[in-house]
Symmetry: C2
Subunit: 529 residues, 2 copies
Amino acid sequence: MNNSQSVLIAGKWRPSTGIEFFQSANPQTGEALPENYPVSPWPEIEEAIEAAAEAYQHLRQVSPENIAAFLEKLADRVEARREEFVQWANRESALPSEPRLNSVELPRTINQLRLAAAAARERSWCQPVIDAANNVRSCYKPIGPVCVFGPNNFPFAFNSAAGGDFAAAIAAGNPVIAKANTSHPGTTRLFAEEALRAAGETGLPPAMVQLLYRTSHADGARLVSHPLIGATGYTGSRHAGLALKEAADKAGKPIYLELSSINPVVILPGILEERAAALAEEFVGSVLMGTGQFCTNPGLVLLLESEQTNAFVEDIKKRFSGAPAGTLLGSGVEKSLLAGINAIKEAGAEVLAGGNSAGEARCSVQNTLLKVGGDQFLANPIGLQEEAFGNASLIVTARDKGQLTEILDHLEGNLTGCVYSHSSGNDDNLYDEIEPVLRGKVGRLLNDKMPTGVLVSPAMNHGGPYPATGHPGFTAVGIPASLIRFAALHCYDNVRPNRLPTELQNANPTGQTWRSVDGQWTREDVAVH
Amino acid sequence: MNNSQSVLIAGKWRPSTGIEFFQSANPQTGEALPENYPVSPWPEIEEAIEAAAEAYQHLRQVSPENIAAFLEKLADRVEARREEFVQWANRESALPSEPRLNSVELPRTINQLRLAAAAARERSWCQPVIDAANNVRSCYKPIGPVCVFGPNNFPFAFNSAAGGDFAAAIAAGNPVIAKANTSHPGTTRLFAEEALRAAGETGLPPAMVQLLYRTSHADGARLVSHPLIGATGYTGSRHAGLALKEAADKAGKPIYLELSSINPVVILPGILEERAAALAEEFVGSVLMGTGQFCTNPGLVLLLESEQTNAFVEDIKKRFSGAPAGTLLGSGVEKSLLAGINAIKEAGAEVLAGGNSAGEARCSVQNTLLKVGGDQFLANPIGLQEEAFGNASLIVTARDKGQLTEILDHLEGNLTGCVYSHSSGNDDNLYDEIEPVLRGKVGRLLNDKMPTGVLVSPAMNHGGPYPATGHPGFTAVGIPASLIRFAALHCYDNVRPNRLPTELQNANPTGQTWRSVDGQWTREDVAVH
């Protein structure tokens, strides 16, 4: 097809052999963007897999220093081209150029790449463990080619060719096959262009990063379960993610999923007495920010029935109605948000504000606030946990403390859970009652703080119990912890010293690598007796 | 049924409500043992699950010190009753009382319990990570009730009520539902008796350890996928393991499998020149030890075609024929070993020694050595990797170095891979060629050492790529690493200091716990500025 964008395979930009194409759209206008992107047929996907497998073998000869240099070079290149990145992402996602894209998300993305580079260079991420007396040594090593499926809501920070999963997979020493999110293929293409250049400049194999725009569902399943694939990182809808999980699980291939999450926020009575208005403002800011399109958007608010609660809900309702409805990432998001709202309504919730399409050419839904009582929630707890991804939230009012705990006990796994309570400890007894229940349902527990905003901290857990993710032991954000997902544990038993990987030799490979030697974490060399 | 053994549910030994029963047999005689063990029906299993979930909640109030005391008390109790344990295990498994059961496996089991206790007490296993400036803190916490399915080949060290998975799950703070291996239910009952007493003596909930002897396949699948279950540890056959995996995966429940492994041993030309006879003795000792019934039994030996290879194979053949055939763990093992040998024969291998049942009342198969050329192996690489669990091994001779590498490239995932080479480095070029290929196929790489014997070392990896296990990032042996399988990552973001788990508070909870504080591993308290 004329005007069809090239795929990046084995270091070459080339026309796809596919015969199906798609266009992305500008969510501000609803109009299709001019570029045509190909749906890659299986032989093309398989070529990418084979090139990635070859690159993975090649990488054994490449020092972590080169991998770090690659990530830094990519960061520099993205920074140098930032205006173009922001323009493309704005055009494809309708996210505001300022401050969101240019001053928040792009710097975060560049920072992630640099932190990943530092982790690759320091090498502590691979957790060398040395039993010197027995000469048994182990550490984590790259798992093999990694497929990254990025989400629609972070065209930079979770982009399959530059975001968190990408940076983690590369820093751990794996080539990446990036499957662009089809809502921002152009932005993804720019990242892949810079990645290819950076690979050339830093001695990495040309197939270090490859780019496909779309595959059929069946071919996606074949991709993640292919014998030459090491692992997959997926962020997106639960439905598509679970289909990939089924295929990967069957083949014994690790797949790390970040699926849906409604991020319960529990507001205890004391805080409403203390600062209801400030809290309402904080909540509304969190839920409507970025038109609510965050994995950690607070989609469920739990309160005890009371006069203060009624007033608080009334306040939120007014703020929802008074705030402009943002533009959504695309017509698919608009459609699924309306479907989610309708499902929640049908499950018994009342609409306090919004509930409908904004009725404009741009993709937009009214800021939507729903409410349901505790009895009704418990009558249909699964239906009322339907994710309404976007600028919508459901308030649940519990009759009493016992019912609040019971509601929490019926929650599915979530990325986050927050508890707001009186600053002087007036709510502490109730906190102690509910915390054990909530704690088991979430990956990250917050106090007095909204869940949006996921700090790139070594202590972060952007993960949680199923169905928020596929395994509660891994985080998608946070360096170096997120790297371990893309690694396999390699043990060396009685292996001769010159044949050990440098991380496991007696000398500390960098002087800076933390290693557990005979049960003690140290940066020293292994003492030779 | 009269004489039916009781199940242990919610702290009580009680008759099963089941109506089906089974007996184990004495492999020395082939005769059924007198005890009848029940097949638990679903309502009984569900009772155990609910009691375990309650115990799990209760455990939040229990200090790691009590958990350590429990594991130590259990170790003491097992030690005090060791004669009875050895008698039961010998009767049920035919493994020799001396040295195997009494002087090797029981001490190992007791040692594992004590190491797990020490890990629970020290708490470094939970890997606290503290970002003090941002007050984001995380560590691993118990995942919930753990089902343990133990294998037939280690009635003590991998017993579902005392072995490695059990100790790891408990030390991480989880209650265990033990599903006895049906070849040694009596031995398992003894462990559960002592565990119940130890729990009572150390303040642990009575449902800390529960025991079921058998379930239907369908109920096993329901068990591992139940919403209240945290995770499962399974060691056993590939077929049964994959059925459980499918159910657990579908429910998003972690399951750690140790399935089949044939443990390739590559013998390079130089070592045959250097010490062929000693190596033959070492190999035969490893493969026939315990009648070959080890997960890490060397079932596949790879050599280059040569005169020395022929002589080496001839030597092994003589040793196989000359050695007495041991008694197998049961008639099921005998049957599956003969089936495995036949499958390998049908796939094209020649029988050099043995190949048939020993034709005795006891469960026994002749020591079996098979051989196939490289071309034939490559013509049917999957068929020739059939596991023949027991005293059997397949020799593969490669035409040249290229073919050797190609054969390695066709291997499935294994727990271990060994390379024997000349001590002066004469084989080093060939080692460097094959190592990258072999390394990717195995969890533990050995030099100049047989794979049987899995040291309980912090650096051990008793794991590997699928289908040896279900995930290449976890080890089933080695403390503290094996504990992490039974834990979920819990992050605390802006949580008030008095509400943090002790592991994440500023003060080091034990003075001994290793924590990563602002990127540095330390045993110090977090400095307060």
